[in-house]
């Protein structure tokens, strides 16, 4: 454990830009670093790291380690794992934070396993115990029915993937400056498993569920697939994304990319509006971390009301369009 120092945040990139979650983690990484008086280091692995490194500095990194190489143009698990481990073996970080994105959760276990250290998945809390130096990783388990606090007391680095949206990005300061260390790597394993084609499914102008600050979801209570148009209209009026329950996906009413819940996506928006969703425990597992929850359902005993901040019992076919109109009116007033 001797000789390991500093808090690393992996800055995931997409088309050369830093993805939001890495910048969010710099906010919490700062607290973790300050608690033990160590530096906050951003790590960028990309074919062109310029923009992401700049963003990391603007959002508070003390230092950026860059591994820039054309072989990182496309994400490949083994190449990125080799690149990251190369850096980790050289600099010996104390703590490493990854976003719990598809990519982060594909990559981080490969790295922790190679380094023979502990990795805690999909955390919603990352707090440094300054006395012991062990990060207290808090994470939901049992489909969100339980929370666990995990630590990694005997090996370093201590690693975790952290759920997007849990921490907020800090205030950007474009004038900040910090050291950028350029690293290189000679041998890279590539080509065994690789991306052939990407099919972006998010409709034009609509945000993906994971990135959305507002989500409006529909369930079996809609009664008919065509009524997702009402959900879509409210989502558009609020400037959010459209989600659904598993029941609606299983009924073939809407594609699985919209599914929120245990076998779908876990989301943590500022506002989650559940329309005609009873609130089965699998659905709650995917959305109960939302800041504000609204439930609209005809059944007053539906479990969704148990997690709702605001609830309306009634006919969603009347309420949802009325709400859409009200939102539009209020927005027009504010504009």
């Amino acid at each position: 454990m001797e000789g390991y120092k500093n808090i690393w945040v992996w800055i995931e990139t997409s088309d050369g830009e830093a993805r939001g979650v890495g910048l969010e983690l710099l906010t919490q990484g700062r607290k973790v670093a300050d608690a033990v008086g160590e530096s906050l280091v951003a790590v960028v692995i990309a074919d062109d790291a310029t923009k992401a490194a700049k963003a990391a500095i603007a959002y508070g990194a003390d230092q950026v380690i860059v591994l820039q190489d054309t072989r990182f143009a496309m994400y490949e698990t083994e190449a990125f794992a080799a690149g990251f481990c190369h850096l980790a073996k050289k600099y010996k970080p104390n703590t490493v934070l990854f976003g719990a994105t598809t990519m982060g959760r594909d990559l981080a276990p490969r790295i922790s396993c190679r380094l023979r250290t502990g990795l805690t998945a999909d955390c919603t809390g990352v707090d440094m115990n300054a006395e012991t130096g062990h990060v207290q990783w808090t994470r939901p388990t049992f489909g969100g029915n339980l929370m666990a606090v995990i630590e990694c007391p005997n090996t370093r680095p201590q690693m975790g993937t952290v759920r997007p949206g849990v921490f907020k990005k800090g205030v950007m300061d474009a004038g900040r400056s910090a050291e950028i260390i350029q690293e290189t790597i000679a041998e890279l394993p590539t080509g065994r498993a690789k991306l052939i084609e990407q099919i972006k499914e998010t409709a034009e102008g609509m945000v993906s569920l994971e990135d959305a600050e507002i989500i409006v979801s529909g369930g079996r209570g809609l009664g008919d697939p065509s009524r997702f148009a009402l959900i879509q209209a409210l989502a558009e009026a609020l400037g959010g994304a459209m989600g659904s329950s598993r029941a609606a996906v299983d009924a073939g009413w809407i594609s699985h990319v919209h599914q929120v819940g245990q076998t779908g996506k876990t989301v943590t928006p500022k506002l989650y509006v559940a329309c005609g969703i009873s609130g089965a425990i699998q659905h709650l597992a995917g959305m109960s971390g939302s800041d504000t929850i609204v439930a609209i359902n005809k059944d007053p005993d539906a479990p969704i009301f148990g997690v709702a901040d605001y609830g309306i019992v009634g006919n969603l076919l009347e309420i949802v369009p009325a709400l859409t109109e009200e939102v539009k009116r209020l927005k027009a007033e504010k504009a």
């Binding site: 794992a81 598809t102 959760r105 594909d106 276990p109 490969r110 922790s112 396993c113 023979r116 250290t117 502990g118 990795l119 805690t120 998945a121 999909d122 207290q136 939901p140 388990t141 049992f142 489909g143 969100g144 029915n145 339980l146 929370m147 666990a148 606090v149 995990i150 630590e151 007391p153 065994r192 498993a193 690789k194 991306l195 052939i196 084609e197 990407q198 998010t202 993906s208 569920l209 609020l238 699985h256 990319v257 245990q262 076998t263 506002l271 597992a285 504000t292 929850i293 609204v294 709702a308 901040d309 605001y310 609830g311 309306i312 019992v313 009347e318 949802v320 009325a322 939102v327 504010k334």
Partner: protein, 265 residues
């Protein structure tokens, strides 16, 4: 093709209830099931078997009762099953579990021949870590593809449909490889009465720490770098506001105003 599917027996988390008085989990009477995503992985393997000559072997690490999960797999298309069970494995985190599984893969290969594909569920619905698949791939030094929704076998490689935050991706990998499976567009098949009876009669060999030649210090609590410090039931939300005006229109207007006041509109 020779396919290995790794499954975990889990409590049916949809049946779990919280005791409102003690605020603890009621585990009694909660049925055990094959982890949902592992069921999808098995179905994906069986669909390959529907199209071409394939042997499917399932393994599960767990206590003796996990044999029931393996029998369930045998009833819906798996050909052979091995239970990986030893007291030394208890308390394993993902690093220790994936290490033990990697040893088990080698031990089972001695009996069943080398596997071209190793399929795992994306994650278990009790732990939700999604780490064992990639860590197994790392121990074996195999390529991996996570979050697969479909697998297409080609000459010496597979093409995989994969689901990400932004939509779909198509990946390709050389074999052997580890592939973790998320929810596909199809449902797992049901057993027939005949296949169920046959599966119930099956004798499932048990492989212990010696038989998989795992180093004991890399198994169980000893081999687990992460430690669970505390478990608690998350505080439930209380005090939500119910809106019940005269008409739907009025309720909607009130809700919109409340959301607007909260800065959400």
């Amino acid at each position: 093709m020779n396919i290995l599917v790794c499954v975990k027996q889990v409590p049916d988390t949809t049946e779990i209830k919280i005791n409102p008085e003690t605020n603890t989990l009621i585990r009694e009477g909660v049925p055990s099931i094959v982890n949902t995503f592992d069921g999808f992985a098995l179905e994906m393997g069986v669909r390959i078997k529907d199209k071409q000559e394939t042997k499917i072997v399932v393994i599960s690490m767990g206590p003796a009762q996990a044999a029931n999960a393996l029998k369930e797999c045998l009833s819906v298309g798996a050909d052979k099953a091995y239970l990986i069970s030893d007291r030394a494995f208890g308390g394993s985190d993902t690093l220790a579990t994936s290490y033990i599984l990697s040893r088990a893969v080698k031990a089972v290969e001695e009996k069943e021949g080398p596997f071209d594909l190793i399929l795992c569920g994306k994650q278990a619905i009790d732990g939700d870590t999604a780490q064992v698949g990639p860590e197994l791939a790392e121990h074996l030094n195999y390529p991996q593809i996570t979050c697969a929704t479909d697998i297409f076998v080609e000459e010496g490689k597979v093409k995989v449909n994969r689901e990400t935050e932004n939509g779909k991706e198509i990946w390709e990998t050389a074999l052997p490889a580890v592939i973790t499976v998320t929810k596909p567009a199809f449902d797992p098949r049901y057993p027939s009465i005949k296949s169920k009876i046959a599966a119930n009669r099956a004798v499932i060999p048990v492989l212990t720490v010696n038989e998989v030649t795992a180093e004991p210090e890399r198994c169980g609590l000893k081999g687990s770098p992460t430690k669970v410090k505390k478990i608690f039931v998350p505080p439930r939300k209380t005090g939500g506001t119910m809106i019940s005006e005269e008409t739907a229109q009025e309720s909607a207007a009130k809700l919109a105003t409340l959301l607007s006041d909260a800065g959400l509109v």
